[in-house]
């Protein structure tokens, strides 16, 4: 019996037809967990799309003027008002954490346990910083500016509602990601993937593919933020 060799499979459009016409796997060489994460992210994309489309609908149909984002989200630093300063820093931190995540995945596949763990930890701290700044932003809006889900002093009341809902939902995603990043950095430092230690809940072994799967999720959360940034803060 011949061995399965992914390199020998047809490539290009012919390869696509071959893969889908073949047995066992439609995505050749793709582990189950990674395929699952992609499909899950597709589903999650629909959730965020529904949120953002609803936001656009509300913005387009409200009769009260929509608040001016640059003013609402401005910070006053040394006496000068800088629009979107905090958001810019938040975005920078989150995108940077995507970079450290990618490096962690690279070191994971190189089986460089220490560096993989450190970069995972750096990613987690980046995410935590983001959530912290978001908490600061929320508290400023709520306690300083008087923005509420049911109304705000700047204009259409849907502004606050959509703001808290969408950034809250995204923030929840980031927080879940941060929790998993901490868990997996601990797993990596402990050497679970080398020793074949079994998961606490699933009682299954895992390996560095898990880091890439976590990375997919993390990059997705960052990508969603780019869209939220564009639709909420820039538009």
């Amino acid at each position: 019996m011949s061995q399965f060799d992914i390199e020998k499979l047809p490539k290009g459009p012919k390869g696509f037809m071959y893969d889908w016409g073949s047995d066992q796997r439609a995505f050749k060489g793709v582990p189950w967990g990674k395929a699952m994460m992609w499909i899950f992210l597709l589903s999650d994309t629909f959730i965020f799309s529904c949120f953002l489309i609803s936001l656009m609908t509300a913005r387009a149909s409200t009769v009260v003027p929509w608040p001016y984002a640059s003013e609402v989200f401005g910070l006053t630093v040394f006496g000068t008002s800088v629009p979107l300063l905090l958001i810019a820093i938040m975005t920078f931190v989150l995108i940077t954490s995507s970079g450290t995540m990618a490096i962690a995945v690279k070191y994971g596949y190189e089986k460089n346990r220490k560096l993989c763990g450190w970069f995972l930890l750096a990613t987690a701290i980046g995410g935590l910083t983001f959530v912290g700044m978001q908490a600061f932003e929320w508290s400023k809006l709520i306690f300083h500016d008087g923005v509420r889900p049911w109304g705000n002093p700047f204009g259409a009341e849907q502004f606050g509602a959509f703001f808290f809902m969408i950034t809250g939902f995204h923030g929840t995603h980031v927080s879940i990601g941060v929790i998993f990043l901490f868990i997996f950095s601990r797993k990596v430092f402990r050497g679970d993937f080398e020793t074949g230690r079994r998961g606490y809940f699933t009682s299954m072994k895992s390996d560095y593919e898990a880091i890439e799967i976590l990375g997919l999720y993390w990059h997705f959360v960052d990508l969603v933020w780019v869209f939220i940034f564009a639709f909420f803060y820039l538009w």
């Binding site: 061995q3 016409g21 066992q24 796997r25 189950w32 395929a35 629909f46 509300a58 889900p149 809902m165």
Partner: protein
């Protein structure tokens, strides 16, 4: 697949495997790609039967839970029918109870019964067995999926016991009325309903990812997508639809919960109530309808596509003939699934949306008639000159075809804007959707249970009770829903608690009483069916291995009924599609999927 059989076609194909399509030589099967799945082996009673990670047990858990909540839905429908048929007699049914019954009946039947039963129940049980996998790819997540579903069901039941009772807003839960005082259950009832739905979506996503990845990435050697039983195609496509459609419901649920609990105005326009203006304002009720129906219409096909798939297999097996036009059937399922995402606003012709939308959505809606018609023709052509065994699964399948055509044709009426507008919100609509997505899929559910019950329990269901069950259900369903079409045509509006002395109720009064009596009888018969299921589990006639002489893998496991790990030491290797019945030249009447071509050299069969 056709009447022409070319001699030695297999050898002829293998010769030019280098050019064009990939055709392996006769007995050749590609090498194993992935290592064997490591399974969790339960040791205690709790991990084996309660917190179980075996997809087969999870499937049965899903099915039993769905059936239990479905029985509540059935009893609620009795309440509605008693009120409509004999409005003066049953004083315990007030208007509030009536609307709550309507709402909970609809939501329970569509989501908690049919979706959970087809995807959670049959999906879990059949997918790993039929594609030749040891289990779902993530057994632990699969287990959590079931428990989330159970929690969702319990939250739903809890809404019956909160102050104000469950929501009475109609199963579509349209705001603003769903969350304003005056609608029954506008307090805690609607909140629990929305939470329950959100939990259902989360739980389903966990299960759905399992079903999709198991089909895409965990098939056994030789099992190409085009060799999968149509059951799997139906469940797989429906799961993909669900993963993309449920997000809209989830978002709608979150937004309406916020509207209700903390006073946002996503869906709340300016409203005056009791002479005072509410604080909410500026929201869009139509936005909710768009979100809801972006979920709601694919939901119809989430229920229908597994039914299409299962009925194809049942018909093929019990008519001892290959399914007519297998590839067309697959593509029809996929095309119906794709189209189902661009037809949602045909539920909203009278909602006040831009009338031009109606033109677009009527067109796309009617286009769906093409692939569905292909499917119906192919079922009929499968039966054509087949060796039809009138077993109970076959009876239910035949009942399905008739009922589905019936409900489909009334769908053509309602898909057209100009015919829909006068028929909208009448009993014609009620009759249409009960025929097409109530009775028709339920017929398949019954066919599937009678078909696979021997596989699950090793025993047959009682045949006499089964025949009684079929005939009363089939004839009774028509006795209930045919008169409703007429009621709709004379203009009887749906969701009315009582018709009083409306002029059109002269002929409607007697019909309503007739429908109610029929509904009670049909409902009672379902309890007979349950009785059959539970008694046959222990006392039923023992079934020999593969009693229907089917070809698909689930009947050919080393242990019968299949045990943990499904296939013993070695996974089966698949050489053909599951429809090689009555093959010319073969000395066997049927050739199971794992039989190599060299074992049946005389069979004149096209390679699939």
């Amino acid at each position: 697949m056709s009447d022409e059989y070319t001699e030695n076609k297999i050898e002829a194909k293998s010769a030019d495997s280098s050019s064009g399509g990939y055709a392996p030589p006769a007995d050749h099967i590609p090498a194993k790609e992935s290592p064997d799945q490591e399974l969790y082996h339960a040791k205690s009673f709790w991990t084996k039967w309660v917190f179980c990670q075996d997809a087969k047990v999870i499937g049965v858990q899903y099915a039993l839970t769905a059936t239990a909540i479905g029985m509540i839905g059935l009893i609620l429908s009795w309440g509605m029918r008693l009120q409509l048929g004999f409005p003066e007699t049953f004083s315990f049914l007030g208007p509030a109870t009536y609307y709550q019954s309507v709402t909970m009946h609809g939501m329970i039947m569509v989501i908690y019964l049919l979706t959970a039963l087809f995807l959670g129940g049959f999906g879990n049980y059949l997918i790993p067995l039929m594609v030749g996998a040891r289990d779902m790819v993530f057994p632990y997540v699969n287990m959590v999926s079931y428990w989330m579903f159970l929690v969702a069901v319990l939250v739903l039941i809890a809404s019956f016991f909160v102050p104000g009772g469950p929501t009475g807003a109609g199963w579509t839960l349209y705001p603003p009325q769903a969350i304003l005082p005056g609608t029954p259950g506008s307090g805690m009832g609607i909140v629990l309903m929305l939470i329950s739905l959100s939990l259902f979506v989360i739980g389903f996503t966990m299960g759905g990812l399992n079903y999709v990845i198991t089909v895409l990435q965990a098939r056994t050697r030789g099992m190409t997508l085009m060799r999968m039983p149509l059951t799997i195609w139906g469940i797989f496509t429906a799961t993909v639809l669900a993963l993309l459609a449920f997000p809209a419901l989830f978002v709608a649920c979150i937004m309406m919960t916020l509207d209700n609990l903390i006073g946002t105005s996503f869906f709340m326009p300016e409203i005056f109530t009791m002479g005072e203006k509410l604080e909410t304002g500026g929201g869009s009720p139509i936005l909710f309808q768009h979100l809801f129906w972006f979920f709601g219409h694919p939901e119809v096909y989430i229920v229908a596509l597994p039914a299409f798939g299962i009925v194809s297999d049942v018909i093929s097996v019990h008519a001892r003939k290959n399914i007519f036009g297998y590839r067309m059937m697959v593509w029809a399922i996929v095309i119906i699934g794709a189209l189902s995402f661009i037809v949602w606003a045909h539920h909203m012709y009278v909602s006040g949306m831009n009338p031009w939308f109606g033109f677009f959505f009527a067109t796309t809606t009617l286009i769906i008639a093409v692939p569905t018609a292909i499917k119906v023709y192919n079922w009929v052509l499968t039966l054509w000159r087949g060796n039809i065994h009138l077993t109970i699964p076959m009876l239910f399948s035949l009942g399905f075809i008739v009922t589905f055509v019936n409900g489909g044709i009334t769908g053509l009426f309602l898909g057209n804007v100009i015919i829909d507008v006068p028929l909208s919100d009448t009993y014609f609509v009620v009759a249409h959707f009960h025929m097409v997505m109530g009775i028709a899929p339920l017929m398949v559910v019954f066919a599937a249970i009678y078909h696979w019950y021997p596989l699950i329990t090793g025993r047959h269901l009682n045949q006499t009770l089964g025949k009684i069950h079929f005939w009363i259900t089939f004839v009774g369903a028509y006795a209930i829903y045919f008169p409703m079409h007429y009621l709709g045509f004379i203009g009887v509006p749906r969701r009315y608690y009582e018709m009083y002395d409306s002029p059109y109720m002269t002929s409607g009064v007697g019909l309503n009483q007739f429908i109610t009596v029929a509904a009670l009888i049909v409902g009672f018969t379902q309890f007979l069916f349950l009785y059959n299921i539970f008694t046959s589990w222990y006392k039923g006639e023992k079934s020999e291995r593969n009693p229907w002489k089917a070809n698909s893998l689930e009947w050919h496991t080393p242990d019968y009924p299949p045990t943990h790990g499904n296939f013993g030491k070695e996974l089966p290797v698949v050489y053909r599609w599951p429809y090689d019945f009555s093959v010319p030249g073969s000395d066997k009447e049927f050739i199971p999927q794992h039989v190599a071509p060299s074992e049946v050299p005389t069979a004149k069969v096209e390679q699939t």
